[in-house]
């Protein structure tokens, strides 16, 4: 079965593999692209992580995850900026296609979602020169509105693209079908995104969904019209990898890692 164009976000096998055995397992299934998280890099060490990735010639479709700029005070906002600059350097070291940026939630005690969004824009602006210098594109990832309060205050592709328009070169978007499939404006906004599409994440929306964060489905097990969205993304000009990102505390995180990867390959070939 085909594996070109398939990438595995290592969160999908977070409970089965670390970076090194995750890469080995992917290669065993013919998968040559991954997206690691910062804890993978920190657990391995940046030098060793870079060696593992480069010596195995793995493509890195994204590094997860920066952003998260809103904070209750100036010290917290500065800490987020510092963290993002470090992650930009790490993303450059491992050769990631982009650093994925999520909005972050409301600061403790806040009921001001517009204020949180302003903090995200301010943070992005503050780290953008560093990202441009490092040649690491920043991919704003709109998250599902059900996460807006505590995780991702950037909620729609339209909103992310407005930020791209305002900030210019070096900023794009990550299009995750799980977060965006419901948006009546999706086709229009994907067409608008064009060269700004830096990543394409896939999984599925289960019915019923039992948890707001950790109940994502394997492609084909839910109700997202994956081929239709893929065609929109290709028509917009993005022909990069489809990156499987599944948080599934009660199902896929409990299965053997090889079964998860085998299923990803199979579904990538049959339903995506």
């Amino acid at each position: 079965m085909r594996t070109d164009g398939l990438s595995i976000n290592l969160a999908t096998v977070r409970h089965q593999f670390g970076l090194k055995d995750g890469v080995e397992a992917c290669l065993k299934h013919g998968i040559t692209a991954i997206a690691p998280w910062r804890d993978h890099i920190q657990a391995t060490g940046l030098v060793e992580a870079t060696r593992i990735i480069r010596s195995n010639d793995m493509k890195v479709t994204g590094y997860c995850r920066g952003g998260l700029f809103p904070a209750a005070d100036a010290a917290g906002r500065q800490a987020a900026i510092d963290m993002n600059k470090e992650m930009i350097d790490e993303a450059a070291a491992i050769g990631a296609d982009c650093l994925v940026m999520i909005g972050g939630g409301l600061p403790q005690g806040s009921r001001d979602i517009a204020g949180a969004r302003d903090m995200f824009a301010d943070g992005l602006l503050a780290v953008l020169p560093h990202a441009r210098a490092a040649k690491v594109p920043l991919a704003i990832e709109p998250l599902h509105p059900m996460t807006a309060a505590d995780r991702g205050c950037i909620s729609t592709l339209s909103q992310a693209l407005d930020l791209c328009d305002a900030l210019g070169a070096g900023v794009g978007v990550a299009v995750d079908v799980y977060h965006l499939w419901w948006d009546p404006d999706l086709a229009k906004q994907i067409a608008r995104a064009r060269w700004r599409i830096l990543a394409h994440h896939i999984c599925d929306w289960l019915v019923p969904t039992k948890d707001l964060l950790l109940d994502r489905g394997m492609m084909g097990d839910g109700i997202i019209g994956l081929p239709a969205i893929r065609r929109m993304i290709e028509a917009a000009g993005f022909h990069g990898h489809q990156e499987v990102e599944i948080f599934s505390a009660q199902d896929w995180w409990k299965r053997p890692g090889d079964e998860v990867l085998r299923t990803c390959v199979e579904r990538y070939n049959t339903v995506c």
Copy 2:
């Protein structure tokens, strides 16, 4: 404390009261407006329900809930149209300000959200002459995107207003803060809505939210900036009731009904 302008959606005390004792309990707390559901009317009988509401001079800020047009086959779609026509007659009988219409979910086996939305528009068009003749405004209620697959495929105020624009007189919107607070486009769309705002529902978004349907919070217990949204709605020209609608399986549905109503009045006065 002030109770003018406050309405109780009887779903808020669904497990404590029916229609008759619900009305009595509301009146005891000085609340003179309610929004009943169809099961309240059916359990009581339409004639008796109408008598209870009219003899107590209760205002009815909405009748819940019609819409739900998408279905897997023509017979299912016709059944939904028939159900909505009956509900329009019931809404007229009890003097409801509007019939609340939700989108409905994807038909069994479907991955076509656009198709479900078309079915909603077709259903609305089919019942609109009946609603106009009965002088019952239809209030399209956009539901939170986390319900788009299985309950409410109309997800944003923008989308609902596009339908209003297309259908003309007799169709408006219900603005529920729970479903819409996250929308970056909310202020603009509320301003656009103007005379089409037929209802204003309130509750709160809890952090964390533990269930996609039944974990809504009491006003003040969550992170929604209620006064800011109220001001937008008033600026758009709607000065009707704020209707409390809380689905809370693990908290408010388990408390004594009088405590729930007393808390609604208190929070209405202090945080809304």
